[in-house]
């Protein structure tokens, strides 16, 4: 069983997010990066599947500038077997189709049985890379997966629907599956794992060696959202606060 896990490196939730001079992304130099939290669940699920079978290979794949090797190493330290770094130099691509075509071209000769991705990235949040790659490679696909059950040539997954509904779907392998966050508890790397990761292979593939179609979607500008709402702050002692809430419900929102 050969499993690829696609991980992205994104700004940490506590990082400052200064807008760059050209106003089209954040200023890379002052950002603290982390592994995209949803991808951490996908990585954990891959490691669990491999441990359950007792054999196979987990390959961590990431695209970006040299800094992303940090998240690949983190995956290797947790137990993945090797890494693939799709090296982007000058320009960080945000078009999901071009991104997916790069992954597809870089991964097609590997013949993975399973490709796992996280729900979406915390930065651009396009939420489609794994499914695009699945379609491009001719794999079966599923999203929002909260449980996996692998057998010989198929995988059964429990999908989360909306409003408290769920669904089981059986997919033939190979498959590309997008994992819903929270389905497992991602492990921390052990000291032994961290030491061992240094010896594991990271293959570097340059984006210039990969074939893609034209870019068709772009982020032109980013900006701080304007708060459109006028918020009334209710202050004062408890009696005043309670009185004002009752008053709002009676005479302003008119629900009681």
């Amino acid at each position: 069983m050969k499993i690829a896990v696609l991980v992205k490196q994104v700004p940490g939730s506590e990082s400052s997010l200064p807008i760059n001079e050209s106003n089209d992304w954040i200023d890379e130099s002052s950002i603290t990066y982390v592994m995209n939290p949803p991808d951490n669940f996908a990585l954990e699920e891959a490691l669990i599947i491999k441990e359950k079978i007792g054999s196979g290979e987990v390959v961590v794949v990431s695209m970006g500038p040299s800094r992303v090797q940090k998240v690949i190493r983190e995956g290797l330290a947790k137990g993945a077997d090797r890494g693939i770094h799709i090296q982007e130099d000058e320009f960080i691509e945000t078009d999901p189709l071009v991104i997916s075509e790069r992954f597809t071209d870089a991964l097609k000769s590997e013949n993975f049985d399973l490709i796992l991705t996280g729900l979406q990235s915390d930065d651009t949040g396009m939420g489609q890379t794994g499914i695009l790659i699945g379609e491009m490679l001719g794999l079966s696909t599923a999203t929002l997966v909260i449980q996996t059950d692998l057998s010989q040539d198929k995988i059964k997954v429990k999908r989360e629907l909306e409003s408290g509904w769920f669904q089981w779907v059986e997919l033939p392998l190979p498959a590309s599956i997008s994992i819903q966050s929270g389905l497992n508890t991602p492990r921390y790397p052990s000291l032994k794992g961290i030491m061992g990761a240094k010896k594991k292979e990271i293959k570097i593939v340059s984006t210039s060696s990969l074939t893609t179609g034209a870019k068709v979607q772009a982020i032109d500008k980013i900006f701080v959202p304007a708060t459109s709402k006028q918020t009334e702050v209710i202050e004062g002692d408890l009696d005043h606060v309670v009185g004002r809430i009752v008053d709002i419900m009676k005479s302003e929102v008119k629900v009681i």
């Binding site: 699945g134 772009a218 929102v253």
Partner: protein, 314 residues
Amino acid sequence: MNILVVIEHSQGSIHRLSKEAIVGAQSLGNKVTALVIGERSEKTITFLKACDIERVLTVDHELVKSYNADGYASIVSQVIVTLSPNLIIAGHTYQTRDFMPRVSAKLRLPFVPDIVSVSDNKYIKQVLNAKLNAEISSSMNQFILSFQSAAFSEEDLKLGSCDSEVYEPSLDSSVVRSKSEEPFQEEAGDVDLESAEILVSVGRGIEKEENISLAFDLAKAIGAEVSASRPVVDSGWIDSFRQVGSSGSNVAPKLYFSLGISGAIQHVVGMKGAKSILAINKDPDAPIFEIADYAVVGDVLEIVPRLIESLDNS
């Protein structure tokens, strides 16, 4: 401008975000076609035939009686090729996220997801955990958009009348490779959050399971339903069918009374369509206050009992 709106329906009813997608399509183009796939769609088709749109296309095929990504991706792609719409629009639902990327890859059409507003061909999307907004554009004259809940208001729906036509897709069983079982609920509930006028919604600020009853007592006093944010559901303190947010229900009540909810983006997308939002939270920096009409910085466990007492006495 020709627009195709892909409609979602379940348990016989049209999804609220599909209604909002129709409103969005009406505001962006003059020739709107709504596509309805699957069985038990009579009510949805009747609803759409009373909207100010060009027509309703229906697909009722053995292989897509209920939703599956393989079948939907194939049918929607075929309809796009047949009609050549300029825009393909859907609500940003779990179902859209599941099959629309497949359509995007099949036809190499950009899929611009989770749009919160549109002006002058600029599509605004939240990025970096909703801390910043991005303006997105496409160089293609045909692309796919999905709208986040409350990007458009159902109240602006223009009514009219139109006919429905049957679309015959070419679909055989080799296309549908995955086997989907019937959807199920882990806890069955007959609570209809989406049509509730008032919701009392609880978050982590309620602190303990035994405090959940405060929300039910308040709800009883003002004739509300009780809903919750994901952490409270995940803790097992309340049934999952009461969850509001991207994985729960999308609600738009007259009053959303939020008790100790911090306002993570996954929650906010499901409730920001509320007419009024009153939020109580201890943390003055809680993101919920950014979208609240009324903000109370304080302890839910202190304020709510007094509020119930006051309502009981009046």
